[in-house]
Symmetry: C2
Subunit: 296 residues, 2 copies
């Protein structure tokens, strides 16, 4: 494992990070706004969403360049959601990936506005994809599905549900609603966007979306498990913090054994969906293995 993934990841992370930097640098906008946007875009992270898009293009034998602007658009949406989630009125976080959060550096107003600008610019990036990579029909589909994944019926709806759930005991159904919307929809979109750019047929889109759905849930379950069993150094937050914050988690609802069983079921279903596509999904499979075995 990891033989093909590490060089794939390094190469594609660099490409999307260049695209993000250039997209912001060329904006004719007040410099404090550009600095605030770049500060959070460059805070690092695994760039898992862009990598899922590129790995999907790879499965179709399509060139990376086709997906560069959409990959950057997705990362902008993800980044804006982190900036807004960290605000004092939301999760009130001072640190993100070991660095002060956006509002701690630029103040709340510019943090909110940087988020708004990133969200808006994501649609511009897709719209500006060169004709040779995507025609108007394909771009229109990408815009529509991104709005669905990121908006009230997707990520924003999930964040609202998460805030409403605070301090409440949730059912498994409630918990999955939150995960599927708050993080799952944008992960699924990353794979779906690759399929749309590759002009996949309906069956392939369906299978790849199912793959991403199970991958996203596996990711969340592993998150909850790591919160209880992980190494503090590796996961970067206090072990057991979910428990102390009275957050509903998979281990709390299913027992630790049940959570581990659910994790392995979702990994199996993710892989089985991939196999049925009949595509060369080596990199997507490696990403799936990494999710299953990650320790941070």
């Amino acid at each position: 494992m990891n033989d093909t993934f590490v060089p794939f990841s390094n190469k594609h992370k660099m490409l999307v990070e260049n695209q993000l930097r250039e997209s912001v640098n060329r904006l004719k906008a007040p410099s404090v706004l550009k600095e605030s946007m770049l500060y959070s875009l460059e805070a690092g992270g695994k760039r898992i969403r862009p990598l899922l898009l590129f790995a999907t293009l790879e499965a179709f034998g399509e060139q990376t360049e086709k997906g560069l602007q959409t990959a950057a658009a997705i990362e902008m949406i993800h980044t804006y959601s982190l900036i807004h989630d960290d605000l004092p009125s939301m999760d009130d976080d001072d640190l993100r990936r070991g660095k002060p959060t956006n509002h701690k550096v630029f103040g709340e107003a510019f943090a909110i506005l940087a988020g708004d600008a990133l969200l808006t610019h994501s649609f511009q990036l897709i719209a500006e994809t060169p004709e040779k990579f995507a025609g108007a029909d394909v771009k229109m589909k990408l815009v529509l599905e991104l709005a669905k994944a990121a908006g009230a019926e997707g990520m924003v709806g999930g964040q609202v549900a998460d805030m409403e759930a605070e301090g409440k005991l949730l059912t498994l159904e409630d918990l999955e609603y939150i995960h599927i919307h708050k993080t799952g929809k944008l992960l699924s979109y990353s794979v779906m966007a690759g399929a749309i750019l590759a002009n996949a047929n309906d069956k392939q889109v369906e299978l790849l979306t199912a793959f991403a759905h199970h991958l996203g849930l596996a990711f969340q379950i592993q998150d909850d498990i790591l919160d209880l069993e992980g190494s503090e150094e590796k996961i970067g937050k206090r072990v057991g913090s979910d428990e102390q914050n009275q957050k509903s988690t998979y281990p709390a609802l299913l027992t630790m054994n049940g959570a581990k069983q659910a994790l392995s079921q979702h990994i199996d279903m993710a892989k089985s969906s991939l196999k049925q596509t009949g595509l060369d999904t080596a990199v997507l499979e490696e990403i799936t293995d990494l999710v299953a075995s990650r320790d941070h």
Copy 2:
């Protein structure tokens, strides 16, 4: 005057308000989110941006239905910007059009998220415009220009510049930068979107954009004049509040006479641009007259 505008305005306001309500009602999203979105969408207002779009379609002899979703999209962008601008970390306003602001009713977190959802949904509304009203090429153009008008190079950039200008003495150039970006770009987009939907030629788009540019500045100058000379009852805020808040205004920079002269120049240029289009711009002219003579 007003003979054709009042019935035009009443009819089209109702149409766009129905579209806004239906668009939110059919969302599968947490009800508190939908309530927060609707609360601000239904707070009233002149719906000047949708009316500009419809009046432009009318000038081309195009049917209103073509522009319904785009008009609603523009009003969603405008509404989200008001919600975010009213937040404690921005303008910290408790009242908007005589009603408590969104965060006063729903709390800051849900106000921020309702704004995010409205911004995101505006792009979905354009993308979902039925094919018979707009093909993928037209919709792509609408998405691209909306992102430019609303984002870092448009409205959000203007809001950042406005916040940076607080308490500073501005030059006329700085003041116009703020107005052109904070409010002008979205007003211009409203006219431009009508032209795009009507498949206008480049010359017509250019003239109509110039019209909207001058109309937008005239609107702002009249705002500043009303703040000093208006009736408190009619404008809904204390007369002279800009002066007390040490806001740079046209009368402060140009004297009251100079401001009135600038107003009439922009109105003249707006009308002259309209005439050169060779279209039947009766309703757009009436809107221009209303801006020049409005008392609130």
